[in-house]
C-alpha cells in the first residue's frame, strides 16, 4: 500500500516538475549573441513559458542549465562550481558554436573550453547564434531527457 502511494506521489511530482522546468542561463565568454537570442526565447514571440520554463538565476533551484560561450580561463572554475551546485537530475544544454567547439575563438589564448570538457553536456544546439526556434527545440529535447532521468 505504502509503496503504491509512493509511486503515485513520485509520478505526480515528476509530472509537475516536467511542466515547470527552471532554467539557469549563463554566458561563459562568447559574444553575447547567443545570450540575446536566449532572452528572445523568454519573450512573447517565442515564449518559453508556454512550456512552463522560467529563467531563474539560482543554480540550487535549477533543472536545466543553458550555457553559451567558449569558457574563458577566468570563468571555468566558477562554471564548474555552478554545475556542482545544481541538484540532480539536471540537463545541460550547450548553445551555440562557441560552447560546442569554441567556434570562432578556437585558437584564442584565453579560451579554455569547449563546454564538454568542463561538464557533461546532454543537448547541443548548433548555430552562431542559433535561432530562437532552435533553442526552443533544444529545451524541449532536454525536457524529455530530464523526464527520463527523473522517473524511477
Amino acid at each position: 500500500m505504502k509503496e503504491r502511494l509512493y509511486r503515485i506521489t513520485d509520478r505526480l511530482v515528476s509530472y509537475a516538475r516536467r511542466k515547470s522546468p527552471w532554467i539557469l542561463h549563463m554566458d561563459t565568454g562568447g559574444c553575447n549573441g547567443c545570450s540575446i537570442e536566449l532572452f528572445a526565447v523568454l519573450t512573447p514571440r517565442f515564449d518559453i513559458e508556454r512550456f512552463g520554463g522560467v529563467s531563474k538565476a539560482n543554480p540550487r533551484h535549477t533543472d536545466i542549465l543553458l550555457i553559451d560561450g567558449a569558457v574563458t580561463k577566468k570563468i571555468r572554475p566558477r562554471l564548474r562550481r555552478i554545475y556542482e551546485q545544481t541538484p540532480e537530475p539536471k540537463v545541460v544544454i550547450a548553445v551555440g558554436a562557441c560552447a560546442i567547439s569554441k567556434g570562432i575563438f578556437h585558437d584564442a589564448y584565453n579560451i579554455d573550453g569547449p563546454l564538454d570538457e568542463v561538464m557533461p553536456v546532454d543537448v547541443y544546439v548548433p548555430g552562431c547564434p542559433p535561432k530562437p526556434e532552435a533553442i526552443l527545440q533544444g529545451v524541449l529535447k532536454a525536457l524529455k531527457l530530464w523526464e527520463s532521468r527523473y522517473t524511477v
Binding site: 554566458d27 528572445a40 519573450t43 580561463k73 577566468k74 584564442a108
Partner: protein
C-alpha cells in the same frame, strides 16, 4: 561611543555580486562596500569575458577579421564590423560606393534601434516591471525581422565587407520596412510616457545615480551616458562618417545626469534613429546598384583609424598594417570599457543597495565589449584573466 563604533564596524562589509548573478546575463563581479544599506564604494572586477580578440585578429587575415570584429559583442555586432572595415579601408585609402554607405547606415541605425529597445526592456526588468520588459522585447522583434530581411541573420549580420557591403536591400522590402518603423515610432512614444510619468518609475529613477557634467568630462564618459549628463558629444555629428552629415537628425542631450535622464536620452534617440532610417530608405533607390569597390587585401605599410558612435558610445579601431594580408597591430577601444569601470564607482556612491541593479543597468553595461583588457584580481590568484606564462611568451616574441 565605543559601542556605537563597534556596531558601525559590524554594519560595514563587502558584498560580492557576481560573477553569476540574477542581475545580468553576463559574468562580472562587483565588490560593493556597504554601510548598512548605503553603498560606500564599489570595485569593478571585469575580465570574465576576456577572449583575446585583438591578438587573434593579428593572426588572421583581413577578411577573417571582419567576423571576429563582429563577434566582439552580439548586441553591437554591426558597428564593430563596420568600424573594422572602415579602419582597413582607411589604411588602403579607398572610398566605398554610395549604395554601400546607405546599406551600412541602415544596418547601424537598425542596430541602434534594437539595442535601445533592449535597453528599455532591461531597465523595465530591473525596475520590476516585467510587463514592460515583455512589451519592449516584443517590439524589438520587429527590428530583428527588418535586420533579417536586410542581411539574412538576426544577430551577427555579416553585412559589411572590405570595400563595401555583401548584400543589397531588396527594393520590394522598403514599403514594409517603412510601415514597421511607423509602428515602432508609436510604440516608442508609449514608452516615453511610461518611463517619464509612471509614479513608480519616477520614484526609482529621479535623482538616482547622479553623474555631474564635470565628473563625466574628467572621467572620459562617452555616448548616451555622457549625453545624459549634459555633455554635448556625438561622433556621428562631430566626426561624421558614412552619411550622417547629409541626413537631418538631432543630438539628444539632457542636463540632469540621473537614471531618468539616461533612460530618456535613449528613448528619444529611438525617434532620431527612426527618422534617419526613413530618410535612408526613401533615398536609397536613387543610388547606382554598385555594392563594392574592388580592392587588394594586402595592405601596404600604413596606419588606419576609424571612430564611430556605437549604440553605447564612442568606438575606436586603430590598425597598423605591414604589407601582408594580416594586421601588424589592432587596437580596439570600446565604449563600455570607458564607461563601466570609471562611472560605476562614482554613480553608486551614497546610493541605497536596493537601487544598485537599476543604476548599474542605466549605464547599459555590455561586458563582452568591456573585457577588452584583463584586470587581474590580485587577492585571489585563481581568477586571473590572462595566463602569465602566455604573457611572458608574448613578450619574448615581441622582443621587449
Amino acid at each position: 561611543m565605543a559601542k556605537d563604533n563597534e556596531r558601525r564596524e559590524k554594519l560595514c562589509y563587502t558584498l560580492p555580486l557576481g560573477p553569476q548573478h540574477p542581475m545580468y546575463v553576463e559574468a562580472e563581479n562587483l565588490m560593493v562596500r556597504v554601510d548598512g544599506e548605503t553603498i560606500t564604494g564599489v570595485e569593478v572586477n571585469i575580465g570574465y569575458m576576456h577572449r583575446g580578440i585583438e591578438e587573434l585578429m593579428q593572426r588572421k587575415n583581413y577578411l577573417q577579421g571582419i567576423f571576429l570584429a563582429e563577434r566582439i559583442c552580439g548586441i553591437c555586432s554591426g558597428i564593430h564590423s563596420v568600424t573594422y572595415c572602415e579602419a582597413v579601408e582607411n589604411a588602403l585609402g579607398i572610398e566605398i560606393p554610395e549604395r554601400a554607405k546607405y546599406i551600412r547606415t541602415i544596418t547601424l541605425e537598425l542596430e541602434r534601434l534594437h539595442s535601445h529597445f533592449l535597453f528599455l526592456g532591461v531597465m523595465a526588468y530591473e525596475l520590476g516591471l516585467d510587463t514592460g520588459f515583455m512589451y519592449t522585447w516584443r517590439d524589438r522583434e520587429h527590428v530583428m525581422d527588418m535586420l533579417e530581411t536586410l542581411s539574412g541573420n538576426r544577430v551577427n549580420y555579416g553585412i559589411p565587407t572590405i570595400g563595401g557591403v555583401r548584400r543589397d536591400l531588396p527594393a520590394g522590402e522598403i514599403p514594409g520596412m517603412l510601415k514597421r518603423l511607423e509602428h515602432l515610432r508609436k510604440r516608442a512614444e508609449h514608452y516615453v510616457i511610461l518611463f517619464s510619468s509612471d509614479a513608480l518609475v519616477r520614484k526609482r529613477t529621479l535623482g538616482k545615480g547622479n553623474l555631474p557634467k564635470g565628473k563625466a568630462n574628467s572621467h572620459s564618459i562617452v555616448g548616451p551616458v555622457a549625453r545624459a549628463s549634459g555633455v554635448n558629444t556625438d561622433i556621428r555629428r562631430d566626426l561624421p562618417y558614412l552619411l550622417y552629415d547629409e541626413l537631418e537628425w538631432n543630438v539628444v542631450t539632457r542636463m540632469e545626469g540621473d537614471v531618468q535622464a539616461r533612460v530618456m536620452v535613449k528613448a528619444y534617440e529611438i525617434f532620431e534613429s527612426i527618422s534617419i532610417l526613413k530618410q535612408c530608405l526613401n533615398r536609397i533607390s536613387r543610388t547606382t546598384p554598385e555594392l563594392k569597390t574592388k580592392t587588394s587585401l594586402f595592405v601596404k605599410e600604413n596606419e588606419g583609424m576609424s571612430i564611430t558612435e556605437a549604440p553605447r558610445g564612442e568606438l575606436v579601431y586603430y590598425l597598423v598594417s605591414n604589407g601582408t594580408d594580416r594586421p601588424e597591430r589592432m587596437r580596439i577601444r570600446t565604449p563600455t570599457f570607458t564607461n563601466v569601470p570609471s562611472a560605476l564607482p562614482i554613480i553608486l556612491k551614497g546610493e541605497q543597495l536596493a537601487d544598485l541593479p537599476v543604476i548599474v543597468g542605466s549605464v547599459d553595461p555590455c561586458f563582452s565589449c568591456c573585457d577588452r583588457v584583463t584586470i587581474v584580481d590580485e587577492r585571489t590568484g585563481e581568477s586571473r584573466g590572462v595566463d602569465e606564462a602566455f604573457l611572458r611568451k608574448l613578450g619574448e616574441e615581441n622582443g621587449d
